[in-house]
Symmetry: C2
Subunit: 414 residues, 2 copies
Amino acid sequence: MANMGLSNVKGTRDLPPEDMVNRNEAISILKRIFESYGFQPLETPGLENWEVLSAKGTGGRDIIDQTYNFKDKSNRSIGLRYDLTVPLARFIAMNKQLAMPFKRYQYGKIWRYEEIKKGRYREFYQFDIDTIGTDSMLADAEIIGCAIDCTNALGFRDFNVRINNRKLLDSLLIYAGVEKSKLIEALRAIDKLDKIGVGGVKAELSQCGISNGAIEKIMGFLKISGKPDEVLKKIEKIAGENDGVKELKQLISYLVMMGFKSKYVIDLSLARGMEYYTGPVFELSYGSIGSIGGGGRYDRMIGIFAGSDIPATGISFGIDRIAELRKPQKIAVTDVFIAVVGDVLKVALAFCRKLRKKGMNVEIDLLGRSLSKQLEYANSRGIPKVIVIGEKELKTGFATEKDMKTGKQRRMKI
Amino acid sequence: MANMGLSNVKGTRDLPPEDMVNRNEAISILKRIFESYGFQPLETPGLENWEVLSAKGTGGRDIIDQTYNFKDKSNRSIGLRYDLTVPLARFIAMNKQLAMPFKRYQYGKIWRYEEIKKGRYREFYQFDIDTIGTDSMLADAEIIGCAIDCTNALGFRDFNVRINNRKLLDSLLIYAGVEKSKLIEALRAIDKLDKIGVGGVKAELSQCGISNGAIEKIMGFLKISGKPDEVLKKIEKIAGENDGVKELKQLISYLVMMGFKSKYVIDLSLARGMEYYTGPVFELSYGSIGSIGGGGRYDRMIGIFAGSDIPATGISFGIDRIAELRKPQKIAVTDVFIAVVGDVLKVALAFCRKLRKKGMNVEIDLLGRSLSKQLEYANSRGIPKVIVIGEKELKTGFATEKDMKTGKQRRMKI
């Protein structure tokens, strides 16, 4: 068994303490901001019925192909969730007594059998907020405002939200000459712009049977991006005031009322992959890194499960990337290491518990090591302070706390 | 699709906000205490290679039978973890550079295809602490002390830790006349005492081929339980000072040094199900409810993966039960609901953001409802305070905050 080629399942990974300390801080920050907006915590299972995960109108063909599905021991078809939105829709449909709007946040693992690239895993995490039960653009504005507050709190400077609208994209595509039956395929091609570039998108649109004239018009639209007011004027000149433009105008006006005057642009090239979006779509864009999250309005997806439509909007934070982009503030949870020298354990253990009760995070030697080995351990673990307790300290009743970085010392009563 | 018999996967459940608010509080409390002992956060994947999950010497036959296993899309045998300890062992074996002792906590979902009973699910949560790399009983004492501190912080009064030792159990079984080859089966039978009663255990021991005389002796031992000093004296009279007794004595002396003088008993009927235990075993026992967690020392399990033994001890908190046993302090995260009447949205939204920035959790009407409908909503959601903003408030610049329980009102500047 020692030779069993010990490994993680391909595409999965462990998160050791030095990563988790940083990640937990990022999670706390997001949670605090989410709760300030009145989003409430929800948990749903990792396992869902295959019927739910594969329902038409949810994630779409590509996602369903990537989903882990299998039979349980009673031969039921089940699978692992590929996002937190479809399970939320199922939850809403099953709980019609819920007071609306229902605003929830959820953190959790999701699974997708994707090609493995740097920073891409088959088991990863999302941290979502969604508002269910209102078609008001105020809900979308809250989602975007909340995301901006989150990135500010995380200390992300070079950040903005790219905003577009599926209704607008549809109408521009139709205006360019795309047939209604080809809209979804055209959107799927546009969504790949960052991955396959202008040439790639053109080729895919052409494969859909879209004319070269239409493709040129579409590629012209996709270049339109910038300050909301200016972009909206441009679009109105081209396509008049359609539903997509109306929604965007309303959304932007709410953002301004809330006090958000920058950190967002309208970008017509933004499509977002999921098929279920019906109105505004958003992407959180961080400098040269690109997307660190995204979402949009999906007014018809819950209806797939509920029987009648329930409007909804939300965003998913790519917490894996967000945690990696943060400068770690510390790598250890432990504040103090108590080094023990000689026959002083009784006093040291009592002192240790006293510090813990005061709210400090304290480790004490568990291996009966020499003082130098104990200091080496504290150092390698990144524990910032050490208190040595030996026979001398026992006699005097005082110990010295040493800062491992600055070397500063402080006398303290045991 | 509306008729698809919408449901959770059998044996799984959603945790709605009113449960999650309470659960998150319990998690915060445990996390704070764990960190005060210097335990560091770790995450491992839900998916593990089947080779790891089914390795001999890990969970044992019964657990492996209950484990979800399947093939991924490249035909690899994988499965869902049935505990957090086996993945930890795999992690330790894969990371031999880790400074020892390695103390970690982990919260996460686990999956077991068990019979479904009240309060028993196929997807549930554990919250574990483990100390790796030391065979000192001080590590076991820390685990027990930490558990006692946790239950105090949770406000659990009628609580104690039952302690036993596998080495002691083995030697008592041998002393009673059980053959060495039958020890594991005998332990498995004893572990079922709470479920199948004295008669059931006797029958199972008999089925193992253990003589009636031996069974009577064993049943006599299992009755021994109580204050550590008294129990230890009794055992020494019967079986002399064997390794199990030595370990228990040391463990208890450390607990006393740390300042823990009550809330634990030695109970010879405690066996614990997992096969991997090698020394002290513990169970967290809450009044008439029974077990809310348990664990023990497993000095040989990591060696299955690492090639050579690495000592370890730990405990798992049944966080599902713990959360249910806590009296919920509140059901909503939201502190204040802002009710909006008339054409005042601009002021209301700016005020809302001001309160959020101050650290308050605030919701504002997203549905353009009548005042009475807004108050009804705030009430049904359990939001404790409401601030009404209408044209009058706009003129005067002052609004009234109303406590929804007491009816008390407070004037405040917008």
